[in-house]
Subunit: 697 residues, 2 copies
Amino acid sequence: MENYSAFLTLVGSIIAIVFAIITAKKVMKYSEGTEKMKKIAQSIREGANAYLKRQYTVVSIFFGGMFLILGAMSLANLLTPYVPFAFLTGGFFSGLSGFIGMKIATASNARTANACREGLNKGLRVAFSAGSVMGFTVVGLGLFDISLWFILLKFVFKLEAAEITSAMLTFGMGASSMALFARVGGGIFTKAADVGADLVGKVETGIPEDDPRNPAVIADNVGDNVGDVAGMGADLYESYVGSVISAMALGVAAFAGDIKAASLPMVLAAVGVICSIVGSFFVKTGEKAEQKILLKALRRGTNLSAVLIAALAFPIVYFVMGKENINLYFSIIAGLVAGVAIGFSTEYFTSDTYKPTRNLAKKSETGSATIIIGGVGLGMMSTAVPIVIIAACVIAAYFFAGGFSSAAAGLYGVAVAAVGMLSTLGITLATDAYGPVADNAGGIAQMAGLEEEVRERTDALDSLGNTTAATGKGFAIGSAALTALALIASYKDQVVKVLSDLGTGETIDLSIMNPTVLIGLFIGACLPFVFAALTMNSVGKAAESVVVEVRRQFREIKGIMTGEADADYASCVDLCTKASLREMILPTITAVIVPIVTGLIFGYNGVIGMLAGATATGFLMAIFMSNSGGAWDNAKKYIESGEFGGKGSSNHKAAVVGDTVGDPFKDTSGPSINILIKLLSMVSIVFATLVVNYHIL
Amino acid sequence: MENYSAFLTLVGSIIAIVFAIITAKKVMKYSEGTEKMKKIAQSIREGANAYLKRQYTVVSIFFGGMFLILGAMSLANLLTPYVPFAFLTGGFFSGLSGFIGMKIATASNARTANACREGLNKGLRVAFSAGSVMGFTVVGLGLFDISLWFILLKFVFKLEAAEITSAMLTFGMGASSMALFARVGGGIFTKAADVGADLVGKVETGIPEDDPRNPAVIADNVGDNVGDVAGMGADLYESYVGSVISAMALGVAAFAGDIKAASLPMVLAAVGVICSIVGSFFVKTGEKAEQKILLKALRRGTNLSAVLIAALAFPIVYFVMGKENINLYFSIIAGLVAGVAIGFSTEYFTSDTYKPTRNLAKKSETGSATIIIGGVGLGMMSTAVPIVIIAACVIAAYFFAGGFSSAAAGLYGVAVAAVGMLSTLGITLATDAYGPVADNAGGIAQMAGLEEEVRERTDALDSLGNTTAATGKGFAIGSAALTALALIASYKDQVVKVLSDLGTGETIDLSIMNPTVLIGLFIGACLPFVFAALTMNSVGKAAESVVVEVRRQFREIKGIMTGEADADYASCVDLCTKASLREMILPTITAVIVPIVTGLIFGYNGVIGMLAGATATGFLMAIFMSNSGGAWDNAKKYIESGEFGGKGSSNHKAAVVGDTVGDPFKDTSGPSINILIKLLSMVSIVFATLVVNYHIL
């Protein structure tokens, strides 16, 4: 069985890619609508393309430099020769996932708007199909990369199981670096444009969202694509691949080099793809634009996929791992359940159908300061539930995998739980990625002056996107924590191996009272704070320049408010592009350098302390920032629906301030931290031999 | 030497108390000024007294309950019989420190305002003297409690050194519980009143700060006394005592029961008192109200004290610990230097003489949302410097104390560094506590309609108070981190002792990869977030009720705006009192229950993980929240000084929103977290025997 598992995975990946291609072709058959719609869509496309092109140029310099460093290290025997190449492919596929997602999203936004002219169901089909293309591209490319490397290393280079998984771990570093660039750069772009457009347009000038008179409106729509789509694509590629390869590595360690333990995560992921495809056929709705009905339509798809994989995981574990390891099945289920539970918690804290966000909306009555204090409090409070869920999941996955008799087996269980959580990523990502498409469609409908009911339909789709995005974020954050823990365990295994190869008798001392571990812990805990600050400041700086430019245009371009003169959209797009590319470099470089420097000073014990600290606070900060931001966004929407004074009231203005503060929280800093905590581990793993050989304390 | 050290400490404590009494008498000789001033001061006094009376009633129920629980546990042999009584005295003296501080502060606010009518120097003398009374009361009572218990346990009950320090650790739990109640309750009161008064008065109605027409103005001034004075007094009593007793306990552990290691922290603290008294004589200024000159006046006092103790610590270490342990001197110096360095970092990030806060003020130009984002970013970024300082301090203190050959000795070095940091608390607290007095004096000057120049002088004193408060906060946060680490080490020692007494062969496993440690770490890391959320939500709730009440009065009381009718101040004071007492209970109870529940489920390994996680994120959150809040406050003041549009501009309005958000950050949640992390350790220590005997995992 285990000998064929890589080929099975390859088949799964090809099915996913073919399904994505077929779906993309279907989407492209729809019309983009009127000439005006086409023109707007074209501008958005051009802006997004131009941005990504320049982003990839910048990123390729980083990748080139890292390739040389890794190459030099492998010549110095500090790395195996596969590492530099694995690093490149990880980065390449991660970037490609984002690129394809962006391509299809910018091709389907006008198509969705146009389909909404005919009916809600048709609109949902188009938007959801676009999301599916992205979802299945991500999982398809991920499995492709994994299975190809596995086949290459096992059947061509004929390596041992431990060598295979050890080499494969390093393409995770490529994927994570690329993802971080994409998330941070895209996140800064989208929020700088959004904040800039809102502050001058909505708050100062009082024109509606997506009004064509606003010079930043195209930049705002471009931002949705480069941040929420391309950034998310690269991000989730990294999560998916990271969870699978870390489970493979721990499996081989736990089962004394038995390749079957590396097969389980691959097979599970491949079968998950099929389950997701089946589920996606069940997503359709009627004509009533009620959120409940739409949500039910999407939930039908994701729930069905989850139930299918929950059922099929049992025979998979049975056949791959044998009867004696059947309890691993429950580790997988623990992961699945935890993902769903964190999703529910996110939804509870951020959806305006529940008390917390409604109470937050009410705080707008006493002004923007109280809604800000309330939102920060809400976000911080909301960390408690996911912490308990993850704690329960880790203990359960560890226990079922037999951790209390073998720690290595237990940690493998935790890693497998992460794979279980992400196994149906194809469809959960589809329901997530369709959001920005619907958002863009709404923008196009507004700018092209389509009928009011079209905008209502796109709004219904968009608002639903916020809820499904909450669920998606639950999976992303939960899996990030589990994968990060698995990667820390992999790092430890790596260090132990290098130490025993060295044979100096030096041993690892991970006691939390060891001062290097403790100081590492403090440094690591600090990183998410610094990282969040860097990215927020970047958004702030970029947004300020947009504000200044938009104000300038309103002041200098005569007739812009009456519609007689066109705004200069391109200058805003250009501003955001330059600012986000400039600003994305420091945070990413920081994430790469800190683990190396920490290791060289405080040694591997310090590194493990640092990773644990970063994972703990990173998890908390990601939840805090995502949930605060989500709740502010929905509190504002709740007021816009007519509650607490409705649109244009002073309460609404206060809520807009909250929403604006929340923008970088939820769409730039929060999601980037998920990548950060894994990148730190990946970098540590790649530089493990260096650090074990050279460290001061 | 070591046999007399407790008596020497007792003498030090008596000198401090006598000095406080003499200074208080001097302050009381000044006049309270006009009849109107006396009347206002009387209202503030009454409100503060009424609040504290009710607070102590609520708190005494908690203390009574805990006394019974601890008594029952000591009957069941889970605690020594001294513990319940030690717990009570810790709480009593902590409360008393706050009470006396509040008494002198409410007696000297009008006196300071009146002295400012005659000149700035005189105003400074009165305010600083009031601060000194509080500072020396805190250290005096702290040393009194310590030396008395030591003498009692050693010379009356004739206990062994280890038994003495173990019993003494538990009065830290009493002090910490009391401090948390005082900080949280007072913090909620002061910020609810402040936010409520500002939002309706300044923002909505446009009347100035401290305008007598504002119904919440007396409540605001009462709040300064019960929060910034009584809360801070109890808080720093706890820090001071906590650092000394944890160092004593670790010393006895490191030096195999040798009592001299317990003597060093006591003697150091006692001599620090004398240095502080000497320093305080050098605080005076000329008549020019320039911040630089005033700052120099205060700095002269604190710097002189620090230099004196740095010089005297050498002979102290030499005589108490002997020539062979002279390197401990450098551990003490590491602590002193770290305290000063963190203070500078705080000042750099929050003072408007430096770039970060000036840049933040500039962000007001693009509205309240960007200044909020900027302030959050600034606060998060500012965590990096103190983390590096504390890491360096811990490593240095550990190294000099010989930690790399004996871990116990190293940890003693860390604890001694904390004592070094706090040794001159008498004078640093004086420079800190005089701030609220000056603030209140300004309020009285405004309300009593004194000449413009009086208000200018009190403003100069107040604004300086913000800078010295920054330094004070640096010491409080830095020492909290070091003391918390020392307490974790004490907990570990306690667990090891109980385990060896039990003799079951069960051993401690503190590896960070042990799942119970790891889960404990996650839970602990989450606690400061939840705690901050609880306290912020409390402020929000209480402030909302104040806003509603103030709006009602403006609406219903005719002639309030023209000054023909008086506002109903008492109803606002009453509202704040009720709200803060109601809201302070949950956070404090949470802090007591979580360590016990965590221990019963995840065992002592889980508890240590939890304590480490809480200390790391608690330290970060405390810095983040304090510095964000401080920077917003000073950015607003910078604008009020005429920059970026000055008072009344739209930029100023945006900055007021920032300041309002920062209020609970810096004065409620941030400082409470410092106490939280120590209380968690203290509770864990007291319940150690219970947890070792009964735990699930």
